[in-house]
């Protein structure tokens, strides 16, 4: 069988791919390997260890994995991803898409416009808007609720950044689900309704099986984005006393504020591993679905 569909020949094919491979090598593979190397040293931002870093083996990893601050940061990140991405953005995004699917005209456009707006504004701008909303002294929310002196970012730091991120990122899920719902044939829903299925039953038995792959892809993307999200730093800086210090903020505080670049690199590598695990799990789920469906179908 001829696999050279483009008729380029091996040499020219390599020539075409090479620039891309070089770029990936220089900007992706090399930094990743460099991070692994740095994670094994006591490299610092300033001081003697900045000029002459020493190899310290796995010290950075053992100290990090036994550091209660890292473990609490990991847990905060899990709650943050679960609360704001999986439950918040995906849930709210789907709800909005479902409610708006039969609507057209100004209402739909208005809702989509507002949701999109929060997504396309620059993070720093949004961060300061929310800071002004939640501020303890002159915050808008306190003025609206008549609760002067309520420190939302201090008393409920994690809940605050979760709500913030739901507000910020719902647009993506909403659009993806809206597109997915277009693929659900109205006749299927019609039939289900005629057979007496309630809305939850329709969702479970008709809609969900048809958009399962969209759901999984969406969850993969938003949980990875949220896992690596640095924007909450603008709101709380990881405080008070680390109660909203999710992993990306933890790395920043350790590596740049504290100057421990070696430890920071080690933590970054751990985050990379966690991200890979996430991605592999989702991909497995996706592939499993696809194969089963392909196997169940009669040959076309």
């Amino acid at each position: 069988m001829n696999t050279d569909a483009a008729g380029l020949g091996r040499a020219r094919a390599v020539g075409f791919v090479l620039p891309a491979l070089v770029l990936i090598g220089v900007f992706l593979v090399f930094p990743a390997l460099w991070t692994i190397y740095l994670g094994l040293t006591d490299y610092r931002l300033t001081g003697l260890a900045a000029a002459d870093p020493q190899l310290v083996g796995l010290d950075n990893y053992t100290t990090t994995l036994t550091d209660p601050r890292f473990l609490s940061s990991l847990w905060l990140t899990v709650v943050y991803v679960g609360g704001s991405a999986v439950l918040g953005q995906a849930g709210l995004g789907f709800t909005l898409a479902w409610l708006l699917r039969t609507r057209h005209g100004p209402l739909r456009r208005a809702v989509e416009g507002v949701v999109l707006l929060s997504w396309i504004l620059p993070s720093t701008v949004v961060g300061f808007l929310w800071f002004a909303l939640l501020d303890r002294d002159d915050g808008t929310l306190n003025a609206l609720l008549r609760t002067p002196g309520m420190g939302w970012l201090l008393d409920y730091p994690l809940a605050s950044i979760i709500v913030f991120n739901v507000w910020r990122g719902t647009a993506f899920s909403m659009m993806l689900y809206a597109a997915a719902l277009e693929n659900v044939p109205p006749s299927h829903l019609e039939t289900a309704r005629l057979a007496g299925a309630s809305v939850p039953q329709q969702l479970r038995d008709v809609v969900l099986p048809l958009i399962r792959r969209h759901v999984l892809t969406n969850l993969l993307l938003i949980s990875l984005w949220t896992f690596n999200d640095f924007t909450p730093f603008v709101l709380t800086g990881g405080g008070p006393e680390g109660r909203s210090e999710i992993l990306p903020v933890y790395v920043y505080n350790i590596a740049l504020k504290g100057g421990e670049l070696g430890v920071g690199a080690a933590v970054s590598f751990l985050i990379l591993l966690i991200n890979l695990l996430f991605a592999l799990a989702y991909l497995r789920l996706l592939r499993g679905r696809g194969r089963r469906r392909a196997a169940g179908r009669p040959p076309a």
Partner: protein
């Protein structure tokens, strides 16, 4: 599989395009540009210093050097963020030619090879500069590491207790007020509280305030309790004096005299300034920076129009009279910023000329026209000392009893450990617990229990 490679191709094209238009023109003498970086910005942090650079230094230098263009690179952020930015600049062998640094960073920057002794960069002209004879040894020490001069000091400062006279009158407290022990401070705080002042006392705590917690709070109090953070080659661990300091913090933050939440806010220090200016804080521990740059009636960040009549200042008292370091009745801490030359500067000799110009008597005087501060130059100080009551107070009363931070590279990490100890107190831990945690952390930082007292 065609799609994913397209962004890569675009990126490749972009890179090719970028490379083809790099700095090509050979830099002639008329193209020389010098850049000054400082953590000051017009209308914001250290506004008067930014204005001085833009309105006096740059025109003045360009007048005598027609072929040189001087640019100012302002910042207006927390000191820790500024430090990170500068460290990254220098790590990349880039950055401004003349850089403002806190004197306490000189050690770690020098050890990292980010800065070099002034003579190594600026050449022999450095040694023969007329200004050296005007700068007292203690002040020169701000820019010295391992016996070598890395930077020119800009001046020095001292820490005192500022108090709001209007609130004091309301609470029936005397003016002038000078506490003679820590109980006096707490008593005044209780009186202010009873008179309805929301936050009677603000002494910085917690990690969010960074070095301001250590320098405005822990270290002056530690000196007032009779101990220095580093003495005779050893660091102070969980000693009696340290526990006294943490115990004082506990009394402030558990009795409603101070606001624990303010210490945890991301912008807590800036807010404490605003609250003092708005008459919501009675007593605040700060350096004279607070007087000249924060509540300064015109250019301050939190201006008080009636500063001169409404704000008083008192020395920080020993825990008990005679109990401060060297048996003093009062204590303080001093520091100060320096300006260094970037060793990677393309025009190091010219950069030194500019640096020397910025520290000339005329330049120092011009800078002092906009604010009251103790400059590094004796000849200028003797002329302007009498101009401002606060300046005179610091020079006469505070500088003789003050202490300096150790110029060691590990100090900033010790400082963070101290901040964490106060943060533990603010969030409800006992002084003994906080001190024990601090001791453990300190030992791991400075290389074992042998280097720690306590």
């Amino acid at each position: 599989m065609r799609l994913p490679s397209r962004p890569a191709v675009i990126a490749a094209l972009a890179i090719v395009a970028l490379c083809s238009c790099g700095p090509g023109a050979p830099a002639g003498r008329e193209d020389v540009t010098l850049v000054i970086a400082a953590n000051s910005i017009s209308g914001g942090k250290n506004s008067e210093s930014a204005d001085w650079i833009k309105r006096w230094v740059i025109p003045g230098f360009e007048q005598t050097h027609h072929d040189v263009k001087v640019l100012f690179q302002p910042s207006g952020v927390d000191d820790e963020q500024y430090k990170t930015k500068i460290a990254l600049d220098l790590k990349a062998k880039a950055g401004a030619d003349i850089i403002d640094l806190d004197g306490i960073w000189v050690g770690e920057f020098a050890q990292a090879g980010y800065i070099k002794p002034l003579t190594d960069v600026g050449g022999p002209a450095v040694g023969s500069w007329e200004g050296w004879s005007q700068i007292p040894q203690a002040v020169q020490g701000l820019g010295v590491f391992d016996g070598k001069k890395y930077g020119l000091p800009q001046g020095t400062d001292g820490r005192v207790l500022f108090y709001n006279k209007t609130l004091f009158k309301k609470a029936g407290l005397p003016d002038p007020w000078q506490p003679t022990n820590w109980e006096d401070i707490l008593t005044a705080g209780a009186r202010l509280k009873a008179a309805g002042v929301p936050t009677p006392i603000q002494i910085n705590a917690g990690t969010a305030m960074g070095e301001a917690t250590t320098m405005q709070g822990v270290l002056p109090l530690l000196a007032a309790a009779g101990s220095e953070i580093y003495a005779d080659g050893k660091w102070t661990g969980a000693t009696r004096a340290m526990k006294d300091v943490l115990g004082f913090y506990q009394r402030l933050y558990t009795s409603g005299l101070s606001d624990p939440k303010l210490q945890q806010e991301a912008k807590g220090r800036d807010k404490s300034f605003t609250q003092f200016a708005a008459g919501k804080i009675g007593i605040l521990a700060e350096s004279d920076y607070f007087w000249r740059s924060v509540i300064e009636p015109k250019a301050g960040v939190a201006p008080m129009a009636d500063r001169d009549s409404a704000v008083g200042f008192a020395e920080i008292p020993a825990k008990n009279p005679g109990g401060a370091i060297r048996g003093q009745d009062f204590a303080s801490m001093s520091g100060g910023a320096v300006r260094v030359l970037n060793p990677f500067s393309k025009n190091p000799k010219l950069a030194w000329e500019l640096l020397a110009f910025m520290h000339s008597a005329a330049a120092t005087k011009a800078q002092l026209a906009g604010q009251a501060r103790i400059s590094s130059r004796g000849d200028v100080n003797s002329e302007v000392l009498t101009a401002d009551p606060m300046l005179k107070y610091i020079a006469d009363k505070v500088l003789p009893i003050t202490a300096y931070r150790p110029g060691l590279a590990v100090y900033p990490q010790v400082s963070v450990a101290l901040q964490e100890a106060t943060a533990a107190i603010v969030s409800g831990k006992s002084p003994d617990e906080a001190a024990a945690t601090y001791q453990t952390k300190l030992e791991s930082l400075v290389g074992g229990a042998d280097h720690v007292v306590g």
